[in-house]
Symmetry: C2
Subunit: 157 residues, 2 copies
């Protein structure tokens, strides 16, 4: 397995693939072509024998000069529980530190228990939202109406 930068040509392969990985949900709208053109230097592909088995799309915040943001991460269903997301995050941390970013943020849904556990294990802390549900601090309607979100933040050492 190897990790490389995202390329423009990955779009045609990855865009239909992520819908498959999410069991037929239309996820590809969340990953428009612009990320494959303009944020390639902080976005990562993991391959196994030339096949894409994972990706991380992230960027350096343009408005917050010490922050980087992880937008979208996916792992092929057959390759889960093999620390692939962890390896992608670790490489992302390494890359953004080279751009002098020491804060990494990301957003997840309060219902996504796997994501919450993963980010907690990776050393992210939850930012204090406006309500608490099951010990989880939540931002009401952060992603739009009825779209509560958890905001995760990690300080890089």
């Amino acid at each position: 397995m190897n990790i490389r930068s995202l390329q423009s040509s990955d779009y045609a392969i990855l865009s239909p693939l992520i819908n498959e990985w999410w069991g037929g949900q239309n996820m590809s709208d969340r990953l428009p072509k612009l990320f494959f053109e303009h944020f390639t230097n902080t976005s990562l592909i993991m391959e196994n024998d030339g096949e894409i088995i994972g990706f991380l799309v992230g960027f350096l915040s343009q408005s917050q000069s010490n922050e980087a943001f992880i937008h979208f991460v996916g792992v092929h269903p057959n390759y889960r529980k093999q620390n692939i997301a962890k390896r992608l995050y670790d490489v992302f941390f390494h890359v953004v530190k080279q751009y002098n970013r020491n804060i990494v943020k990301c957003v997840t849904s309060p219902t996504n228990k796997v994501s919450i556990a993963f980010h907690t294990n990776m050393g992210f802390r939850m930012e204090k939202g406006d309500k608490t549900i099951d010990n989880i601090s939540v931002y009401t309607n952060y992603g739009g109406e009825n779209q509560d979100r958890i905001l995760f933040c990690k300080i890089l050492e």
Copy 2:
């Protein structure tokens, strides 16, 4: 009317508004919260008496150091044909020049004749795609399967 930078708090107002402006289509997925957090310094709101009547969401390309990209532009239906998009574009050009960007790119659909005429009038040229339809150079499947696109490019003086 005045033009100001996009703010985080605009999301809750603008996100449902754009669906209205596009006649009930779900457009807000194309404008996720991340733009309101991390690309505020190159994104613009036009207001009239405190009401949002137009916006331009754009960014400095992270991978292409001389490029800026216009992602999404909208004008309130009651305020169209008043050069509001032109004013937003002109301010965007001014802003990105301050970040040493001299190329502005954007993408549109071959069926969007209003957008094609607008960009041509604004001095954008079409990049050479892989096929020509009605004298328009088109990139096949650029935005995904059956999603042909025109790529516009303008050199700033």
